[in-house]
Protein backbone atom coordinates (compact mmCIF):
# COMPACT_ATOMS: atom_id res chain seq x y z
CA UNK A 1 0.00 0.00 0.00
CA UNK A 2 1.39 3.28 -0.99
CA UNK A 3 -0.30 6.65 -0.93
CA UNK A 4 -3.49 7.25 -2.89
CA UNK A 5 -3.09 8.08 -6.54
CA UNK A 6 -4.54 11.50 -6.00
CA UNK A 7 -1.54 12.31 -3.83
CA UNK A 8 0.76 11.19 -6.58
CA UNK A 9 -1.05 13.53 -8.89
CA UNK A 10 -0.71 16.35 -6.40
CA UNK A 11 3.01 15.77 -6.13
CA UNK A 12 3.31 15.65 -9.89
CA UNK A 13 1.20 18.75 -10.09
CA UNK A 14 3.39 20.63 -7.68
CA UNK A 15 6.48 19.62 -9.60
CA UNK A 16 4.80 20.67 -12.81
CA UNK A 17 3.97 24.03 -11.29
CA UNK A 18 7.53 24.43 -10.09
CA UNK A 19 8.85 23.66 -13.53
CA UNK A 20 6.44 26.06 -15.13
CA UNK A 21 7.35 28.67 -12.57
CA UNK A 22 10.99 28.22 -13.42
CA UNK A 23 10.37 28.39 -17.12
CA UNK A 24 8.32 31.51 -16.77
CA UNK A 25 10.37 33.49 -14.33
CA UNK A 26 14.05 32.75 -14.80
CA UNK A 27 15.56 35.24 -17.20
CA UNK A 28 17.95 32.69 -18.58
CA UNK A 29 17.35 30.51 -21.59
CA UNK A 30 19.08 27.52 -20.06
CA UNK A 31 16.94 27.76 -16.97
CA UNK A 32 13.86 27.89 -19.14
CA UNK A 33 14.86 24.65 -20.78
CA UNK A 34 15.57 23.24 -17.36
CA UNK A 35 12.12 24.25 -16.23
CA UNK A 36 10.59 22.48 -19.16
CA UNK A 37 12.61 19.41 -18.24
CA UNK A 38 11.11 19.57 -14.78
CA UNK A 39 7.66 19.74 -16.29
CA UNK A 40 8.38 16.68 -18.39
CA UNK A 41 9.63 14.95 -15.31
CA UNK A 42 6.44 15.78 -13.47
CA UNK A 43 4.46 14.29 -16.32
CA UNK A 44 6.62 11.20 -16.12
CA UNK A 45 5.81 10.77 -12.43
CA UNK A 46 2.12 11.11 -13.19
CA UNK A 47 2.45 8.51 -15.91
CA UNK A 48 4.25 6.01 -13.76
CA UNK A 49 1.78 6.57 -10.97
CA UNK A 50 -1.07 6.15 -13.39
CA UNK A 51 0.50 3.03 -14.75
CA UNK A 52 0.52 1.58 -11.29
CA UNK A 53 -2.94 2.84 -10.55
CA UNK A 54 -4.35 1.20 -13.65
CA UNK A 55 -2.04 -1.75 -13.76
CA UNK A 56 -1.32 -0.90 -17.36
CA UNK A 57 2.15 -0.70 -18.80
CA UNK A 58 1.33 2.02 -21.33
CA UNK A 59 2.14 4.66 -18.76
CA UNK A 60 5.59 3.31 -18.23
CA UNK A 61 6.11 3.13 -21.96
CA UNK A 62 5.25 6.79 -22.13
CA UNK A 63 8.00 7.58 -19.67
CA UNK A 64 10.52 5.68 -21.68
CA UNK A 65 9.77 7.84 -24.66
CA UNK A 66 9.62 10.95 -22.58
CA UNK A 67 13.21 10.30 -21.68
CA UNK A 68 14.08 10.09 -25.36
CA UNK A 69 12.19 13.23 -26.22
CA UNK A 70 13.78 15.03 -23.29
CA UNK A 71 17.17 14.09 -24.62
CA UNK A 72 16.20 15.39 -28.06
CA UNK A 73 14.90 18.54 -26.59
CA UNK A 74 18.01 19.22 -24.64
CA UNK A 75 20.27 18.53 -27.55
CA UNK A 76 18.39 20.66 -30.01
CA UNK A 77 17.53 23.31 -27.49
CA UNK A 78 20.98 23.67 -26.17
CA UNK A 79 22.42 23.69 -29.68
CA UNK A 80 20.20 26.61 -30.64
CA UNK A 81 20.78 28.40 -27.39
CA UNK A 82 24.51 28.02 -27.47
CA UNK A 83 24.63 29.15 -31.02
CA UNK A 84 22.50 32.12 -30.19
CA UNK A 85 24.73 32.87 -27.25
CA UNK A 86 27.73 32.90 -29.54
CA UNK A 87 26.07 35.51 -31.66
CA UNK A 88 24.54 37.74 -29.06
CA UNK A 89 26.48 36.96 -25.94
CA UNK A 90 23.37 36.79 -23.88
CA UNK A 91 21.14 34.23 -22.32
CA UNK A 92 18.53 36.76 -21.43
CA UNK A 93 15.34 36.02 -23.36
CA UNK A 94 14.60 39.72 -23.29
CA UNK A 95 17.55 40.30 -25.59
CA UNK A 96 15.86 38.47 -28.41
CA UNK A 97 13.58 41.11 -29.71
CA UNK A 98 14.41 41.51 -33.35
CA UNK A 99 11.09 40.22 -34.54
CA UNK A 100 8.23 42.57 -34.10
Amino acid sequence: MIAPFSHVLVVAGILFALGAFCAVTRRNLIMIVLGIEIMLNAAAIAFVGGSLHLDNLDGQTFVLFILAVAATEVSVGLAIIVYAFRRTGSFDPADFNLLR
Binding site: L9, A12, F16, V33, E73, V76, R87, F96, L98, L99
Partner: protein, 481 residues
Protein backbone atom coordinates in the same frame (compact mmCIF):
# COMPACT_ATOMS: atom_id res chain seq x y z
CA UNK B 1 -0.77 -6.66 -44.92
CA UNK B 2 -1.33 -4.56 -47.92
CA UNK B 3 1.58 -2.40 -48.88
CA UNK B 4 -0.61 0.29 -50.29
CA UNK B 5 -2.15 0.79 -46.88
CA UNK B 6 0.91 2.52 -45.58
CA UNK B 7 2.19 3.48 -48.98
CA UNK B 8 2.45 7.20 -48.29
CA UNK B 9 4.35 6.76 -45.07
CA UNK B 10 6.79 4.35 -46.63
CA UNK B 11 7.19 6.57 -49.62
CA UNK B 12 7.90 9.67 -47.62
CA UNK B 13 10.20 7.77 -45.33
CA UNK B 14 12.12 6.61 -48.34
CA UNK B 15 12.17 10.12 -49.71
CA UNK B 16 13.61 11.43 -46.47
CA UNK B 17 16.25 8.79 -46.56
CA UNK B 18 17.09 9.73 -50.13
CA UNK B 19 17.91 13.23 -49.00
CA UNK B 20 19.82 11.86 -46.05
CA UNK B 21 21.89 9.89 -48.51
CA UNK B 22 22.36 12.95 -50.67
CA UNK B 23 23.80 14.66 -47.63
CA UNK B 24 26.62 12.22 -47.67
CA UNK B 25 27.18 12.53 -51.39
CA UNK B 26 29.91 14.72 -52.72
CA UNK B 27 29.03 18.41 -52.64
CA UNK B 28 28.05 19.62 -56.03
CA UNK B 29 28.95 22.82 -57.74
CA UNK B 30 26.88 25.80 -56.67
CA UNK B 31 24.04 26.72 -58.97
CA UNK B 32 25.66 30.00 -59.74
CA UNK B 33 28.56 28.13 -61.24
CA UNK B 34 26.39 26.05 -63.48
CA UNK B 35 25.74 23.29 -61.00
CA UNK B 36 22.55 21.36 -61.36
CA UNK B 37 19.91 21.52 -58.78
CA UNK B 38 19.85 17.90 -57.93
CA UNK B 39 17.97 18.30 -54.68
CA UNK B 40 15.31 20.53 -56.08
CA UNK B 41 14.60 18.33 -59.04
CA UNK B 42 14.46 15.20 -56.98
CA UNK B 43 12.33 16.95 -54.38
CA UNK B 44 9.76 18.12 -56.82
CA UNK B 45 9.71 14.73 -58.47
CA UNK B 46 9.30 12.95 -55.17
CA UNK B 47 6.67 15.37 -53.98
CA UNK B 48 4.61 14.94 -57.10
CA UNK B 49 4.93 11.19 -56.98
CA UNK B 50 3.95 11.46 -53.33
CA UNK B 51 0.63 12.97 -54.31
CA UNK B 52 0.00 10.06 -56.62
CA UNK B 53 0.88 7.60 -53.91
CA UNK B 54 -1.46 9.29 -51.52
CA UNK B 55 -4.22 9.34 -54.08
CA UNK B 56 -3.64 5.70 -54.78
CA UNK B 57 -4.03 4.88 -51.13
CA UNK B 58 -7.02 7.11 -50.52
CA UNK B 59 -9.38 4.22 -50.30
CA UNK B 60 -7.04 2.09 -48.18
CA UNK B 61 -8.20 1.01 -44.80
CA UNK B 62 -6.77 -0.92 -41.95
CA UNK B 63 -4.91 -0.90 -38.69
CA UNK B 64 -1.24 -1.13 -38.28
CA UNK B 65 1.09 -1.57 -35.35
CA UNK B 66 -1.48 -3.33 -33.22
CA UNK B 67 -4.09 -0.69 -33.77
CA UNK B 68 -1.89 2.16 -32.74
CA UNK B 69 -2.15 3.43 -36.22
CA UNK B 70 -5.36 3.53 -38.17
CA UNK B 71 -5.63 4.03 -41.86
CA UNK B 72 -9.04 5.21 -42.90
CA UNK B 73 -10.61 7.66 -45.27
CA UNK B 74 -10.20 10.42 -42.72
CA UNK B 75 -6.46 10.00 -42.46
CA UNK B 76 -6.00 9.35 -46.13
CA UNK B 77 -7.81 12.51 -47.13
CA UNK B 78 -5.60 14.48 -44.85
CA UNK B 79 -2.54 12.70 -46.12
CA UNK B 80 -3.48 13.67 -49.61
CA UNK B 81 -3.88 17.24 -48.48
CA UNK B 82 -0.51 17.08 -46.80
CA UNK B 83 1.18 15.68 -49.85
CA UNK B 84 -0.45 18.38 -51.89
CA UNK B 85 0.77 20.98 -49.43
CA UNK B 86 4.29 19.62 -49.57
CA UNK B 87 4.25 19.58 -53.32
CA UNK B 88 3.05 23.14 -53.50
CA UNK B 89 5.67 24.35 -51.07
CA UNK B 90 8.42 22.41 -52.79
CA UNK B 91 7.37 23.95 -56.05
CA UNK B 92 8.17 27.32 -54.49
CA UNK B 93 11.65 26.19 -53.51
CA UNK B 94 13.09 26.37 -57.00
CA UNK B 95 15.00 29.49 -56.29
CA UNK B 96 15.26 29.18 -52.57
CA UNK B 97 18.09 31.45 -51.63
CA UNK B 98 17.39 31.85 -48.00
CA UNK B 99 18.79 28.47 -47.06
CA UNK B 100 22.48 27.91 -47.42
CA UNK B 101 23.05 26.03 -50.62
CA UNK B 102 25.11 23.41 -48.86
CA UNK B 103 22.23 22.65 -46.58
CA UNK B 104 19.59 22.08 -49.19
CA UNK B 105 19.75 18.36 -48.69
CA UNK B 106 19.11 18.74 -45.01
CA UNK B 107 16.41 21.21 -45.77
CA UNK B 108 14.55 18.78 -47.96
CA UNK B 109 15.22 15.97 -45.57
CA UNK B 110 13.58 17.92 -42.79
CA UNK B 111 10.73 18.97 -45.03
CA UNK B 112 9.97 15.44 -46.05
CA UNK B 113 10.39 14.01 -42.60
CA UNK B 114 8.14 16.70 -41.23
CA UNK B 115 5.54 15.75 -43.79
CA UNK B 116 6.00 12.17 -42.83
CA UNK B 117 5.52 13.10 -39.18
CA UNK B 118 2.36 14.98 -40.00
CA UNK B 119 1.06 11.99 -41.89
CA UNK B 120 1.80 9.79 -38.95
CA UNK B 121 0.06 12.32 -36.79
CA UNK B 122 -3.19 12.19 -38.72
CA UNK B 123 -3.24 8.43 -38.55
CA UNK B 124 -1.99 7.96 -35.02
CA UNK B 125 -4.58 6.48 -32.74
CA UNK B 126 -2.63 6.23 -29.55
CA UNK B 127 -1.74 9.14 -27.34
CA UNK B 128 1.87 8.10 -27.35
CA UNK B 129 2.16 7.91 -31.10
CA UNK B 130 0.32 11.20 -31.40
CA UNK B 131 2.74 12.75 -28.99
CA UNK B 132 5.79 11.44 -30.71
CA UNK B 133 4.60 12.31 -34.19
CA UNK B 134 3.80 15.76 -33.00
CA UNK B 135 7.24 16.14 -31.51
CA UNK B 136 8.87 14.82 -34.64
CA UNK B 137 7.10 17.32 -36.80
CA UNK B 138 7.74 20.10 -34.34
CA UNK B 139 11.44 19.43 -34.12
CA UNK B 140 11.75 19.30 -37.86
CA UNK B 141 10.12 22.67 -37.99
CA UNK B 142 12.19 24.20 -35.21
CA UNK B 143 15.28 23.31 -37.13
CA UNK B 144 13.83 24.40 -40.44
CA UNK B 145 13.02 27.76 -38.96
CA UNK B 146 16.40 28.17 -37.44
CA UNK B 147 18.13 27.14 -40.64
CA UNK B 148 17.44 30.44 -42.31
CA UNK B 149 20.44 32.13 -43.80
CA UNK B 150 19.50 35.37 -42.16
CA UNK B 151 20.60 33.81 -38.96
CA UNK B 152 19.67 36.45 -36.46
CA UNK B 153 16.05 36.28 -37.51
CA UNK B 154 16.05 32.55 -37.94
CA UNK B 155 17.66 31.85 -34.63
CA UNK B 156 15.47 34.15 -32.67
CA UNK B 157 12.41 32.69 -34.32
CA UNK B 158 13.79 29.22 -33.70
CA UNK B 159 14.35 29.88 -30.03
CA UNK B 160 10.94 31.33 -29.53
CA UNK B 161 9.27 28.63 -31.51
CA UNK B 162 11.22 25.97 -29.72
CA UNK B 163 10.61 27.25 -26.22
CA UNK B 164 6.90 27.81 -26.75
CA UNK B 165 6.62 24.46 -28.43
CA UNK B 166 8.42 22.58 -25.73
CA UNK B 167 6.43 24.30 -23.07
CA UNK B 168 3.20 23.45 -24.82
CA UNK B 169 4.38 19.89 -25.35
CA UNK B 170 5.12 19.57 -21.68
CA UNK B 171 1.69 20.85 -20.85
CA UNK B 172 0.19 18.44 -23.32
CA UNK B 173 2.13 15.57 -21.90
CA UNK B 174 0.91 16.30 -18.42
CA UNK B 175 -2.58 16.44 -19.77
CA UNK B 176 -2.10 13.12 -21.46
CA UNK B 177 -0.95 11.68 -18.16
CA UNK B 178 -4.14 12.84 -16.54
CA UNK B 179 -6.25 11.62 -19.41
CA UNK B 180 -4.51 8.30 -19.45
CA UNK B 181 -4.84 7.73 -15.75
CA UNK B 182 -8.47 8.78 -15.76
CA UNK B 183 -9.57 6.78 -18.74
CA UNK B 184 -7.43 3.79 -18.07
CA UNK B 185 -6.25 3.69 -21.63
CA UNK B 186 -4.26 5.79 -24.03
CA UNK B 187 -5.78 4.28 -27.09
CA UNK B 188 -8.16 6.69 -28.74
CA UNK B 189 -10.92 4.31 -29.88
CA UNK B 190 -11.04 2.88 -26.39
CA UNK B 191 -11.00 6.31 -24.89
CA UNK B 192 -13.87 7.26 -27.14
CA UNK B 193 -15.89 4.54 -25.47
CA UNK B 194 -15.29 5.65 -21.91
CA UNK B 195 -14.68 9.34 -22.33
CA UNK B 196 -18.26 10.51 -22.88
CA UNK B 197 -19.18 8.92 -19.60
CA UNK B 198 -16.31 10.49 -17.71
CA UNK B 199 -16.35 13.82 -19.44
CA UNK B 200 -17.51 15.84 -16.49
CA UNK B 201 -14.84 14.54 -14.18
CA UNK B 202 -12.42 17.28 -13.18
CA UNK B 203 -9.29 15.38 -14.00
CA UNK B 204 -10.59 14.37 -17.38
CA UNK B 205 -11.48 17.92 -18.18
CA UNK B 206 -8.09 19.12 -17.07
CA UNK B 207 -6.38 16.38 -18.99
CA UNK B 208 -8.37 17.09 -22.11
CA UNK B 209 -7.75 20.79 -21.83
CA UNK B 210 -4.02 20.36 -21.43
CA UNK B 211 -3.84 17.78 -24.17
CA UNK B 212 -5.72 20.01 -26.55
CA UNK B 213 -3.27 22.72 -25.54
CA UNK B 214 -0.53 20.89 -27.35
CA UNK B 215 -2.57 20.65 -30.49
CA UNK B 216 -3.72 24.20 -30.17
CA UNK B 217 -0.09 25.13 -30.18
CA UNK B 218 0.19 23.61 -33.62
CA UNK B 219 -2.97 25.32 -34.67
CA UNK B 220 -1.79 28.63 -33.18
CA UNK B 221 -4.87 29.10 -31.06
CA UNK B 222 -4.82 31.60 -28.26
CA UNK B 223 -2.98 31.43 -25.87
CA UNK B 224 -0.61 29.10 -27.68
CA UNK B 225 -0.38 31.34 -30.71
CA UNK B 226 2.43 33.58 -29.65
CA UNK B 227 5.08 31.71 -31.55
CA UNK B 228 3.34 32.12 -34.85
CA UNK B 229 4.14 35.72 -35.73
CA UNK B 230 7.78 35.32 -34.80
CA UNK B 231 8.17 31.99 -36.47
CA UNK B 232 6.52 33.19 -39.67
CA UNK B 233 8.55 36.32 -39.72
CA UNK B 234 11.78 34.68 -38.76
CA UNK B 235 11.55 31.64 -40.97
CA UNK B 236 12.35 31.68 -44.62
CA UNK B 237 9.35 32.34 -46.80
CA UNK B 238 8.96 28.77 -47.94
CA UNK B 239 9.20 27.36 -44.46
CA UNK B 240 6.70 29.87 -43.20
CA UNK B 241 4.46 28.80 -46.03
CA UNK B 242 4.85 25.22 -44.99
CA UNK B 243 4.00 26.00 -41.39
CA UNK B 244 0.97 27.93 -42.51
CA UNK B 245 -0.35 25.23 -44.77
CA UNK B 246 0.64 21.63 -44.15
CA UNK B 247 1.26 21.94 -40.46
CA UNK B 248 -2.12 23.58 -39.88
CA UNK B 249 -3.91 20.92 -41.85
CA UNK B 250 -2.43 18.15 -39.72
CA UNK B 251 -3.19 20.03 -36.55
CA UNK B 252 -6.82 20.31 -37.53
CA UNK B 253 -6.88 16.59 -38.19
CA UNK B 254 -5.46 15.64 -34.84
CA UNK B 255 -7.73 17.96 -32.90
CA UNK B 256 -10.61 16.41 -34.78
CA UNK B 257 -9.53 12.96 -33.80
CA UNK B 258 -9.16 13.79 -30.15
CA UNK B 259 -12.34 15.78 -29.91
CA UNK B 260 -14.29 13.15 -31.75
CA UNK B 261 -13.39 10.74 -29.00
CA UNK B 262 -14.90 13.13 -26.48
CA UNK B 263 -18.37 12.48 -27.85
CA UNK B 264 -20.79 15.28 -27.18
CA UNK B 265 -18.47 16.87 -24.70
CA UNK B 266 -19.43 18.75 -21.63
CA UNK B 267 -20.82 22.21 -21.36
CA UNK B 268 -17.61 23.32 -19.75
CA UNK B 269 -15.48 22.01 -22.55
CA UNK B 270 -17.64 23.77 -25.08
CA UNK B 271 -17.41 26.98 -23.13
CA UNK B 272 -13.67 26.76 -23.01
CA UNK B 273 -13.56 26.21 -26.73
CA UNK B 274 -15.91 29.10 -27.30
CA UNK B 275 -13.75 31.39 -25.23
CA UNK B 276 -10.59 30.31 -26.96
CA UNK B 277 -12.21 30.61 -30.33
CA UNK B 278 -13.54 34.10 -29.74
CA UNK B 279 -10.32 35.36 -28.24
CA UNK B 280 -8.26 33.80 -31.00
CA UNK B 281 -10.30 35.41 -33.70
CA UNK B 282 -10.40 38.77 -32.10
CA UNK B 283 -6.82 38.85 -31.02
CA UNK B 284 -5.51 37.59 -34.30
CA UNK B 285 -7.51 40.03 -36.33
CA UNK B 286 -6.77 43.00 -34.15
CA UNK B 287 -3.08 42.35 -34.12
CA UNK B 288 -3.01 41.76 -37.84
CA UNK B 289 -4.43 45.21 -38.55
CA UNK B 290 -1.27 47.04 -37.65
CA UNK B 291 1.30 44.72 -39.14
CA UNK B 292 3.72 45.96 -41.74
CA UNK B 293 5.35 42.66 -42.50
CA UNK B 294 3.20 40.53 -44.73
CA UNK B 295 4.23 37.24 -43.19
CA UNK B 296 3.63 38.48 -39.69
CA UNK B 297 0.23 39.65 -40.79
CA UNK B 298 -0.49 36.23 -42.16
CA UNK B 299 0.59 34.69 -38.90
CA UNK B 300 -1.97 36.69 -37.00
CA UNK B 301 -4.58 35.92 -39.58
CA UNK B 302 -3.71 32.27 -39.05
CA UNK B 303 -4.61 32.67 -35.43
CA UNK B 304 -7.88 34.23 -36.47
CA UNK B 305 -8.60 31.40 -38.85
CA UNK B 306 -7.85 28.92 -36.14
CA UNK B 307 -10.55 30.66 -34.20
CA UNK B 308 -12.99 29.97 -37.02
CA UNK B 309 -11.89 26.37 -37.18
CA UNK B 310 -12.49 26.07 -33.46
CA UNK B 311 -16.09 27.04 -34.05
CA UNK B 312 -16.43 24.09 -36.34
CA UNK B 313 -14.78 21.87 -33.78
CA UNK B 314 -16.74 22.96 -30.76
CA UNK B 315 -19.93 22.00 -32.50
CA UNK B 316 -18.82 18.43 -31.76
CA UNK B 317 -20.89 16.86 -34.46
CA UNK B 318 -20.21 15.46 -37.93
CA UNK B 319 -21.41 18.59 -39.70
CA UNK B 320 -18.88 20.68 -37.84
CA UNK B 321 -16.08 18.22 -38.39
CA UNK B 322 -16.69 18.00 -42.09
CA UNK B 323 -16.78 21.78 -42.19
CA UNK B 324 -13.41 21.78 -40.46
CA UNK B 325 -12.01 19.38 -43.03
CA UNK B 326 -13.29 21.56 -45.81
CA UNK B 327 -11.81 24.58 -44.17
CA UNK B 328 -8.48 22.83 -43.82
CA UNK B 329 -8.41 22.40 -47.56
CA UNK B 330 -9.46 25.99 -48.04
CA UNK B 331 -6.72 27.24 -45.76
CA UNK B 332 -4.18 25.14 -47.58
CA UNK B 333 -4.99 26.63 -50.95
CA UNK B 334 -5.50 30.20 -49.82
CA UNK B 335 -2.43 30.47 -47.66
CA UNK B 336 -0.34 28.80 -50.28
CA UNK B 337 -1.41 31.30 -52.90
CA UNK B 338 -0.40 34.20 -50.74
CA UNK B 339 2.94 32.66 -49.97
CA UNK B 340 3.49 31.97 -53.62
CA UNK B 341 3.12 35.67 -54.28
CA UNK B 342 5.47 36.46 -51.44
CA UNK B 343 8.10 34.10 -52.76
CA UNK B 344 7.75 35.50 -56.25
CA UNK B 345 8.07 39.04 -55.06
CA UNK B 346 11.03 38.40 -52.81
CA UNK B 347 13.35 36.22 -54.85
CA UNK B 348 16.21 36.97 -52.48
CA UNK B 349 14.18 35.57 -49.63
CA UNK B 350 13.83 38.79 -47.68
CA UNK B 351 10.82 39.52 -45.58
CA UNK B 352 8.23 41.29 -47.63
CA UNK B 353 6.78 44.50 -46.27
CA UNK B 354 3.28 45.34 -47.33
CA UNK B 355 4.28 48.52 -49.09
CA UNK B 356 6.65 46.54 -51.24
CA UNK B 357 3.62 45.18 -52.99
CA UNK B 358 3.12 48.58 -54.55
CA UNK B 359 2.59 48.45 -58.26
CA UNK B 360 2.12 44.72 -58.32
CA UNK B 361 -0.88 44.99 -60.59
CA UNK B 362 1.38 46.43 -63.24
CA UNK B 363 4.41 44.32 -62.57
CA UNK B 364 2.57 41.05 -62.74
CA UNK B 365 -1.18 41.11 -63.23
CA UNK B 366 -1.59 37.42 -62.65
CA UNK B 367 0.22 37.48 -59.33
CA UNK B 368 -1.80 40.50 -58.30
CA UNK B 369 -4.98 38.72 -59.23
CA UNK B 370 -3.88 35.62 -57.36
CA UNK B 371 -3.17 37.72 -54.29
CA UNK B 372 -6.50 39.48 -54.63
CA UNK B 373 -8.47 36.29 -54.93
CA UNK B 374 -6.58 34.59 -52.14
CA UNK B 375 -7.04 37.49 -49.77
CA UNK B 376 -10.72 37.83 -50.52
CA UNK B 377 -10.98 34.13 -49.97
CA UNK B 378 -9.21 34.46 -46.65
CA UNK B 379 -11.65 37.21 -45.79
CA UNK B 380 -14.48 34.90 -46.67
CA UNK B 381 -16.03 36.72 -49.59
CA UNK B 382 -17.99 34.56 -51.99
CA UNK B 383 -17.65 32.93 -54.40
CA UNK B 384 -14.38 31.65 -53.05
CA UNK B 385 -13.48 28.55 -51.17
CA UNK B 386 -12.86 30.56 -48.02
CA UNK B 387 -16.44 31.70 -48.02
CA UNK B 388 -17.82 28.24 -48.56
CA UNK B 389 -15.68 26.95 -45.74
CA UNK B 390 -16.92 29.63 -43.41
CA UNK B 391 -20.45 29.04 -44.54
CA UNK B 392 -20.22 25.37 -43.70
CA UNK B 393 -18.77 26.19 -40.32
CA UNK B 394 -21.48 28.69 -39.58
CA UNK B 395 -24.29 26.42 -40.66
CA UNK B 396 -22.92 23.74 -38.38
CA UNK B 397 -22.64 26.18 -35.51
CA UNK B 398 -26.05 27.72 -35.93
CA UNK B 399 -27.67 24.36 -36.18
CA UNK B 400 -26.41 23.86 -32.69
CA UNK B 401 -27.72 27.25 -31.69
CA UNK B 402 -24.51 29.25 -31.49
CA UNK B 403 -25.93 32.31 -33.23
CA UNK B 404 -24.12 34.82 -31.09
CA UNK B 405 -20.84 33.09 -31.71
CA UNK B 406 -21.39 33.24 -35.43
CA UNK B 407 -22.23 36.92 -35.25
CA UNK B 408 -19.02 37.55 -33.37
CA UNK B 409 -17.17 35.57 -35.99
CA UNK B 410 -18.76 37.61 -38.74
CA UNK B 411 -17.79 40.83 -37.04
CA UNK B 412 -14.28 39.46 -36.97
CA UNK B 413 -14.57 38.80 -40.65
CA UNK B 414 -15.29 42.48 -41.10
CA UNK B 415 -12.23 43.43 -39.12
CA UNK B 416 -10.14 41.00 -41.09
CA UNK B 417 -11.37 42.42 -44.35
CA UNK B 418 -9.92 45.72 -43.28
CA UNK B 419 -6.35 44.53 -43.23
CA UNK B 420 -6.76 42.32 -46.24
CA UNK B 421 -8.00 45.38 -48.05
CA UNK B 422 -4.93 47.26 -46.90
CA UNK B 423 -2.82 44.61 -48.58
CA UNK B 424 -4.96 44.70 -51.69
CA UNK B 425 -4.71 48.44 -51.70
CA UNK B 426 -0.96 48.16 -51.68
CA UNK B 427 -1.04 45.77 -54.58
CA UNK B 428 -3.59 47.58 -56.68
CA UNK B 429 -3.51 51.21 -55.71
CA UNK B 430 -0.14 52.26 -54.53
CA UNK B 431 2.55 53.05 -56.99
CA UNK B 432 6.12 52.27 -56.04
CA UNK B 433 8.39 55.17 -55.22
CA UNK B 434 10.64 54.39 -58.15
CA UNK B 435 9.39 52.49 -61.12
CA UNK B 436 10.09 48.80 -60.76
CA UNK B 437 10.55 46.50 -63.71
CA UNK B 438 7.85 44.00 -64.53
CA UNK B 439 8.14 40.84 -62.57
CA UNK B 440 9.45 37.96 -64.62
CA UNK B 441 7.24 35.08 -63.70
CA UNK B 442 8.17 31.78 -65.20
CA UNK B 443 5.54 29.91 -67.09
CA UNK B 444 5.10 27.12 -64.54
CA UNK B 445 4.60 29.75 -61.88
CA UNK B 446 2.00 31.46 -63.99
CA UNK B 447 0.32 28.15 -64.44
CA UNK B 448 0.44 27.56 -60.74
CA UNK B 449 -1.03 30.96 -60.05
CA UNK B 450 -3.74 30.35 -62.59
CA UNK B 451 -4.56 27.05 -61.04
CA UNK B 452 -4.69 28.61 -57.62
CA UNK B 453 -7.10 31.29 -58.76
CA UNK B 454 -9.29 28.86 -60.59
CA UNK B 455 -9.08 26.42 -57.73
CA UNK B 456 -10.12 28.97 -55.15
CA UNK B 457 -13.03 30.20 -57.20
CA UNK B 458 -14.22 26.89 -58.54
CA UNK B 459 -13.94 25.10 -55.25
CA UNK B 460 -15.89 27.97 -53.78
CA UNK B 461 -18.60 27.96 -56.37
CA UNK B 462 -18.93 24.25 -56.97
CA UNK B 463 -18.06 22.80 -53.60
CA UNK B 464 -20.44 19.90 -53.57
CA UNK B 465 -17.94 17.25 -54.50
CA UNK B 466 -15.50 18.40 -51.86
CA UNK B 467 -18.22 18.60 -49.28
CA UNK B 468 -19.15 15.04 -50.02
CA UNK B 469 -15.57 13.94 -49.53
CA UNK B 470 -15.37 15.84 -46.27
CA UNK B 471 -18.61 14.26 -45.09
CA UNK B 472 -17.35 10.82 -45.99
CA UNK B 473 -14.03 11.47 -44.30
CA UNK B 474 -15.74 12.29 -41.03
CA UNK B 475 -17.56 8.99 -40.83
CA UNK B 476 -14.61 6.86 -39.66
CA UNK B 477 -14.26 9.09 -36.61
CA UNK B 478 -17.65 7.92 -35.50
CA UNK B 479 -17.03 4.32 -36.13
CA UNK B 480 -18.59 4.29 -39.53
CA UNK B 481 -16.52 2.93 -42.32
Amino acid sequence: MNWITEGPEIFYFGASLWFLLLTFAAPQKPVSNGGRRREYLSAILLASVGILVCLASVRAEGWLFIRAYSVDLFSQVFKTLLSLGLFLIVSLCGSISDIDERRHNEFYFLLFSCTLALMLLVSADHLLSIYLSLELSSYSLYILVALRKRRALGLEAGIKYFLTGSFAAAVMLFGMALLYSSCGTAYLPDMAKVLPGLISRPTVIMGLLFTLGGFFFKLAVFPFHSWAPDAYQGASNQVAGYIATASKVAAIAVVLRVLASAGHGSAYLVHVLVILSVVSMTLGNLAAIVQKDLKRLLAFSTTAHSGYVLIALLVLDPAGYSAAIFYALALLVMKFTVFMVIVELAPDGRNLQIEELAGLHKRSPIMALALLVALFSLAGIPPTVGFTGKFLIFTAAIQKGYVALVIIAMINVVISLYYYLLVIKAAYLLEPAEALPPLLVSFPKKLLAGFSIVGIVVAGFFPYWLIQIANAAVLPLFGGR
